[in-house]
Structures are given as C-alpha cells and as structure tokens.
C-alpha cells in the first residue's frame, strides 16, 4: 500500500485522505510498533494539489461524495489549516449541537448536555450534528444520548471517553439508565458525588 501511495500520489491530480486514520493517524496512532503515517506525512511536498483530509471514524459518506462532486464540478474546495474542506468542517460539534442550551446532566442516557461529564464536542471540528449519520436517521448525541468521542479530530482516540475518566472504578457512578427504565445496579448517591467533583474541577462555561 505504501508503494502504491508513493508511486501514484505524485501523479494524482487530487488526493483525498479518507477517514481519521489517513488524515491524522486515527485509532492506531497510539501503537508504538506499527509506524503508522498519515497521507500527508508520506507525500508531503510531492503532490500536485494540497491533500484533502476528510477525517471521521468511520469516514462520513456525505463528505466523500460531496467533495468528489466539488472536485469534478468546481475544483479544489476551500480547505482549513488541517486540510479539511470548510464546507464539512466549519466549526466545532458543540457549536451546532442541539443540546447546547439544554440542562447539563450527569449521566448518559438522560436528555441534556453532556459537557459537564466529558463530552468532546467542544474540541472536535465536524458538522455531524447537521449531516448526522445513516441518511440522517440519528447521530451520536441526539436521540442516542451519548457524548461525542471526538472521532474526527487529530487527537482521536485520546481518552478516557466516558465521564472524562472520573466515573471509573465504580459501576454505580456510571449508570446508564436506559432511558429511565430499570437498569439494575445504579446508585444515584454515587452519581451526584462524582458530578460534584467534576464540577469543582472544571472551568466555568
């Protein structure tokens, strides 16, 4: 694969790095053995046009098809400093999130804003609240009631994902009440003390 990229990359008119692994290293980046490189690291300076990064994990089909259409009809789209088309990567997930002005909650599965428990929406640039997933039927936060894990950003898969790691070691604190239905071993006393400790440690928003 590396040979193919090295041989064909300099000859290609446009190059799309599809997915977070190709754009930024992605889920394999923490590995010390594999020596993973991004497309940019392999081809830097040897391409005819700037490399277009389309990070997300999985790669989002609308960004792929939309960018190809733009390339065919208009040419290179406007790219930000990370090489991402600004059309699909305009601002943070947080800025477009429908939960933005809702009440902050202390566990997933409850309707509200997960910023206080570790949602990575504020630090992730992608338009997924607008594009959504699977033909727009759903996306990670709205309806699924789960936080953003920053799958489209250069820092992915930096963790811990859940509760910023503060809910660790104790099932009671992390209870995912499946929407108010009986979820077995949750203990609400634990949840609120964890929330208090998170709130005291985090900045005010």
């Amino acid at each position: 694969m590396l040979d193919a990229v090295n041989e064909l990359g300099p000859k290609a008119k446009y190059i799309l790095a599809i997915g977070t692994c190709a754009s930024f290293g992605g889920v394999v980046k923490p590995s010390t053995y594999t020596g993973i490189k991004t497309v940019k690291e392999v081809l830097n300076g040897r391409t005819r046009n700037p490399i277009i990064n389309l990070p997300a994990c999985p790669a989002h089909p609308e960004t792929m098809v939309g960018t190809v259409v733009t390339l065919l009809t208009k040419g290179l789209p406007k790219l930000d400093s990370y090489g991402r088309p600004t059309q699909y990567y305009p601002t943070t997930v947080h800025n477009n999130c429908p939960r933005r002005h809702t009440e902050m909650v202390d566990q997933y599965g409850a309707f509200g804003c997960y910023r206080g428990i570790g949602c990575k929406g504020p630090e992730t640039t992608f338009s997924c609240p607008l594009l959504k997933w699977n033909n727009g039927v759903n996306w990670c936060i709205d309806k699924a009631d789960m936080q953003c894990i920053s799958c489209a950003s250069p820092s992915f898969p930096e963790g811990p994902f859940y509760y910023g790691g503060m809910g660790s070691g104790d099932m009671g604190s992390g209870g995912m009440g499946s929407g108010g239905m009986d979820s077995g071993g949750t203990s609400s006393n634990q949840s609120s003390s964890i929330v208090n400790s998170i709130k005291s440690k985090s900045k005010s928003y």
Binding site: Y33, N138, A144, D145, M146, F161, S178, G184
Partner: protein, 351 residues
C-alpha cells in the same frame, strides 16, 4: 519443485488476506499458507486505558461487524464489575446486533460471494472479473445483478434501522456499561418496523430464491469444502430466556459444551515473539516482523488443540436449525436461512 499459486490480495473479503497454495503433479493442493497481512496492534493500544474505552476502540477492528466488538467489550466490562443490565437493555442490544447481521449476510452473499459465480455488466467495478466456470443462464444472471443492486439499497436500510437505536452504524454509540443509552419510543419502533418489513421482503422474496438459483447451478459444490468437521459457537442474541443461538460445540458430530479455558493461540508461524499456546485471557501480543518461519500476522486459535469452524453454519448446526451437512454451498445456504431466522426473530423482539 511444487507448482505454486499465490493470490494477494484475495479480493472481496473484509481484511487483508493472501493465499499461497502448493500443488502436486496432479494439481491437488498439498500445502496451503493463509497470510493475514495487516497488523494494527489493537491489543496493545488497549493497555493502560480505561476499560470502558474498549467499547469504542475494539469496534474499529472492523467496519462490517463493529457491533459484535462493542457487545463483547461491554459484556466483559459488566462481568468484571459483577453487573447485569436490565432485560430491556439487553433486548435493545440484541436488536442492534440482529439488524447488523441482516445487512452483513446480504453483503456477504450479493456483494462479496456472488461475483465468483456470475459475470457482471462489462463496467467497473464488475469488470475485469472472474469468468471461469460460469453456469448460470443469462436471465438468471440479470436477475441476480438486479438484486445485487437492490441489495445495496436494502443493506443501507437495514443499517438505518440499526442506527435509529445505536446512534450510527458502523461504530455504534449507544451501547454502554450498564445498558443502552438510548431510550426507545413508540415512534422510533414504528420507523424501525417499516425498515424491517422492507428488509424481510427482500430476504424472503429475493435473497433466499437467489440462493436456490446458485445452489442448483453449482450442486456439486455441496461436496467440496468440508472443513475440519468441528463447529463452535459462543452464542448470540441474548433474550430474557437464553440466547436465540445458544453456545455449543460439535466435535465430529458430538454435542459438547464450550469452555473458554481450553482455547489456545499458537504463534509458531506468526510474527510474534510472545509465547505460543497462551489462552487469550492471559494473552500476549509482542509483534516481531521477520521472525524466522513466520508468514502471517494471524495467531492460530485452537480449542483443545483442534481446529474449529465458527459462523452461520456452525451456529445453525449446533442449534439444530440446519440439517448438519458441510460444504461450500451449505455455508451459503445456512447463512441465508440464518438471515431469515433473525429477521423473523426481530419482528418478535420489536413487539
């Protein structure tokens, strides 16, 4: 000097596979080397991380079957914490998993296997294509191609059904320690049921009859591909009263139970310097590319030193839902029947 055929990569599989076979003078295969060509170090990436992160990281092992990894990771976490999720949450996970199986099996038959048996339209990506021993007549071929294309759409719809409950597919979000984050409402169930109706219609009226077309044209393939003759399943689709496909083992036709302690992973021919024969619970993965004698990144798992086959044929045979024969065509047929069974079960689960 044996005659050698190497195919690298094997196309239309998920993963990176190279096959090298050595043939004797009568063109029978004497030795076969299956090489897994990709190593991503997932085992070591998970070390020193919060264990709940595994739910998301392991999903990235595969974009076709991420749900299995999510469920395995979350169950491992819950078992370690001594926690049992509610039956409602368990059912939701089962529905997510089942929906994923539907699209996966349709993908396997139409988009991965079928082009071995028919010649497609003379366009990319079907051409250049395999064109040896094509037996299906042109009107059936046309029908199969039409269903191939429709299958792309039906697959997408099955995924949308799953995404309603999972947040997105692949790499689901709503499976979490404790249960499922997404609450279910009647409107969403209705939406899912309408997707299910479309998928079921396709399975019953297109997928299964197409499998019939294939198995009749290649009926001699019911005698090749016998495999090792041992089957194993860990069980899948938790319900309140046990799994739809129970776990079990068929050792040369004899029914037995599954004890995970008896599994060992051998690395004699694999690029690892870690010890061979470890049980996965105490596994080690120390990569060592270029190790003498090694030719693959895959470890060789064995149950009591024996090779076991898993997958739809295994699950269907072990649970008595299939007639128990083993061959290339039996695998394709068992997969189709399993798809139908899961679609039926989904109707029940959604009610």
């Amino acid at each position: 000097m044996p005659n050698t055929i190497t195919i690298d990569p094997v196309t239309r599989v998920e993963g990176h596979l190279k096959v090298k076979v050595e043939l004797d003078s009568s063109n029978k295969v004497t030795t076969a080397y299956m090489t897994g060509n990709l190593f991503r170090d997932m085992e070591n990436i998970l070390k020193d991380r919060h264990p709940w992160d595994a739910i998301h990281i392991t999903q990235r092992i595969c974009g076709v079957c991420p749900v299995s990894h999510a469920i395995a990771s979350v169950k491992a976490n819950e078992q370690a914490m001594g926690f049992t999720p509610s039956s409602q949450a368990t059912l939701q996970r089962t529905v997510i998993q089942a929906g994923n199986y539907l699209q996966d099996h349709i993908l396997h038959f139409y988009h991965l296997s079928l082009m071995d048996y028919i010649i497609g339209p003379q366009l990319n990506p079907w051409s250049p294509g395999y064109d040896v021993d094509m037996r299906i007549n042109s009107s059936n071929t046309q029908r199969l191609i039409n269903n191939y294309l429709e299958g792309l759409k039906v697959r997408r719809q099955a995924q949308e059904m799953v995404a309603i409950l999972a947040g997105r597919v692949p790499h689901v979000m709503s499976i979490a320690p404790g249960g499922v984050t997404m609450p279910l409402e009647a409107g969403l169930i209705t939406q899912m049921k309408s997707y299910l109706a479309t998928v079921k219609d396709f399975i019953n009226n297109k997928y299964l009859p197409d499998v019939e077309i294939l198995t009749s044209a290649y009926s001699d393939y019911f005698t090749i591909g016998q495999g090792p003759g041992n089957f194993l399943s860990y069980g899948v689709f938790d319900q309140a009263d046990g799994m739809l496909f129970k776990s079990g083992r068929l050792a040369q036709g004899v029914s037995e139970s599954v004890d995970p302690e008896k599994i060992s992973e051998y690395v004699q021919y694999s690029y690892y310097s870690s010890p061979s024969g470890l049980n996965p619970a105490k596994g080690q993965t120390t990569p060592a590319y270029g190790k003498s004698g090694a030719y693959t990144w895959l470890k060789a798992p064995r149950y009591e030193e024996q090779v076991y086959e898993l997958g739809p044929l295994a699950r269907m045979n072990i649970n008595g839902y299939y007639n128990g024969k083993v061959s290339v065509m039996d695998r394709i047929k068992a997969r189709a029947l399993e798809t139908q069974k899961i679609a039926e079960a989904l109707t029940g689960w959604m009610n």
